[in-house]
Point group: C2
Chain length 339, copies 2
């Protein structure tokens, strides 16, 4: 069992036993906190990371030659596009808010309905989705195999060519594993720097736990490790048609159940919820405590929680903008407006 | 008079006097070459550069919140989008091929028809063009003035707020002045490193001069300093409707006269010509010598010129992907699909 899940269970048990959240206030015992510092992986395959970084920024993976992974998971903007729902090929309107790619390696599965079990599995989806990048795996691979710089780099990273789609998604996933945001002020506080948070932020964290937000938003990513019904207590009104995890399982119990979003960097990943209908953290907090927990906060309570949430903004990915190898003479031309 | 223009005149005079291009082969006298090494400016205003870099990558300057300067002048792809013509708001099809932003500070004016005299003047165009970023200067400035991080950074860089559009375009232009690509192999050769070029590349440069390409493509940017009719000798067939500089001057003599494009990094800035109809350097060279110079090359001649042109690829812009400040509570929401 994962260490952080152990910690959550110990924390819940300690709340039951002690009848309070007092133990969580003891910064000298961070192992008992239900949120743990988030850390960069140490087992990265760097040639694949560097290759995946280029692919993440390469619009030639789309039919138009204009949309890259970074178009909707913008690493200058919290790994999101800050839109209600994304824009795809031909200016198609996406059906759901694009989740941040930051810390997505900590998700139990990918997409709001968890239909991809791995980052690698996810990466293949948008490339071939007609409303997103609108290419096909066949075409994307043909494009890459006709770009001499890519052939060389794939050969070095994988030891073999021609390039196939599993190599493409493997490299993208390996790059995405680097998109972790450590060293937030909250994490510094968790690690023992008691001055890293203000009193209001600490009070917000306590309120986050006592109110029950922590029941779903826990672990190192402060979410991403469970599915929950949107509207557990009270109905969440939305015009959005997404049905949630039932689309994957077919089980009625999964209707409107979505993956709990990661709250790391939530200050940057507006607008909120699967329908992207809420623009401010204050409104998001108030909606959530009502529909999920049947509670109302006074303004001061909301402000405390928001202050805590903003302390979860970590070090953003920092790297040199990649340079993409030029197309070759036989590379299929982009088709933004049809053949 | 600019030093490089002097050099061009001296070069032309030397050709006339000597009846040959022999003097240009003497690498110990680089001052006589009609192309000069390109260099980074030394008088940069760094706070404006850093601010302009963020603005260049910020899609909130567009109505949709999705299109940034970098969308069509992609600094991972030679400062271009490698499309026949660009995609704009609502998937609008642009009327002309997007010129590279690299080394654009060396252009005598901006846009193919030179309708903007300065980089600052150019930067305001696409923001407010309904077929490009589709915002207005009023809206763009309102967006920026409601983003606390930008208000702080503009205040520091300009000493005053509120932000106005001239500050926005000034910062973008100052960043664009850094987008110079020095240290190409050709420049190293110009500076005296005789091993920097192959024999074929040197032969290509000689052919480039002797054939007359150098008449328009000269100076440090290898172009960008004159207008010329597309089809001086023989008609250039195209379905593109752009009329050229006549749109600015109203003078019949300017019909189909376009700014001579910069050839620095031309290997990266395909497809070619104002209509983007030519995908390979070989085809571009063959078309140009026919329509501009009434010549035909044998295959070996084309190959030499192309080899020379590829030696003009310089050091690409290298910087850390910027992080954009998050929107504030009153920042106008993007409107990708209408209000």
């Amino acid at each position: 069992m994962k260490k952080w899940l152990n910690s959550v269970l110990i924390f819940v048990a300690s709340m039951v036993l002690a009848g309070s959240a007092a133990s969580a206030q003891d910064a000298s015992a961070p192992a008992l906190e239900p949120i743990q510092p988030i850390e960069m992986p140490t087992d990265l395959d760097m040639p694949k990371v560097e290759l995946g970084k280029k692919l993440f920024f390469d619009p030639r993976l789309s039919l138009s030659g204009w949309i890259s992974c970074n178009s909707c998971h913008n690493l200058s903007m919290g790994g999101s596009d800050n839109l209600v729902s994304s824009i795809g090929h031909g200016w198609a309107q996406g059906p759901i808010n694009a989740p941040t790619v930051l810390n997505s390696s900590y998700n139990l599965a990918q997409f709001w309905d968890g239909r991809a079990l791995t980052l690698q599995d996810q990466a293949g989806g948008p490339i071939a989705n007609p409303g997103e990048m609108a290419s096909t795996h066949t075409l994307a691979v043909e494009v890459l195999n006709t770009i001499p710089g890519y052939v060389e780099e794939f050969s070095a990273a994988f030891g073999t060519v021609p390039i196939d789609i599993s190599m493409v998604t493997d490299a993208i996933a390996e790059f995405e594993r680097t998109l972790v945001t450590p060293d937030s002020r909250f994490d510094l506080w968790l690690k023992g720097d008691k001055n890293a948070l203000t009193e209001q932020e600490i009070a917000g964290y306590e309120l986050f736990k006592v109110t029950g937000c922590i029941g779903c938003h826990n672990g190192p990513a402060v979410g991403g490790n469970a599915y929950q019904k949107m509207g557990s207590f009270n109905r969440y009104e939305t015009a959005n048609l997404a049905t949630g995890r039932i689309a994957v399982t077919g089980a009625q119990v999964d209707r409107l159940r979505f993956k709990v979003p990661v709250l790391r960097n939530v200050e940057l990943t507006y607008p909120y919820f699967h329908d992207g209908q809420v623009r401010t953290l204050e409104a998001a907090v108030n909606t959530m405590v009502w529909v999920q927990l049947n509670r109302h906060f006074a303004e001061a309570g909301t402000a405390k929680i928001v202050a805590f949430l903003k302390s979860l903004t970590g070090s953003q990915p920092s790297f040199t903008l990649p340079q993409l190898p030029p197309s070759g003479p036989t590379t299929p031309a982009p088709q933004p407006f049809g053949p």
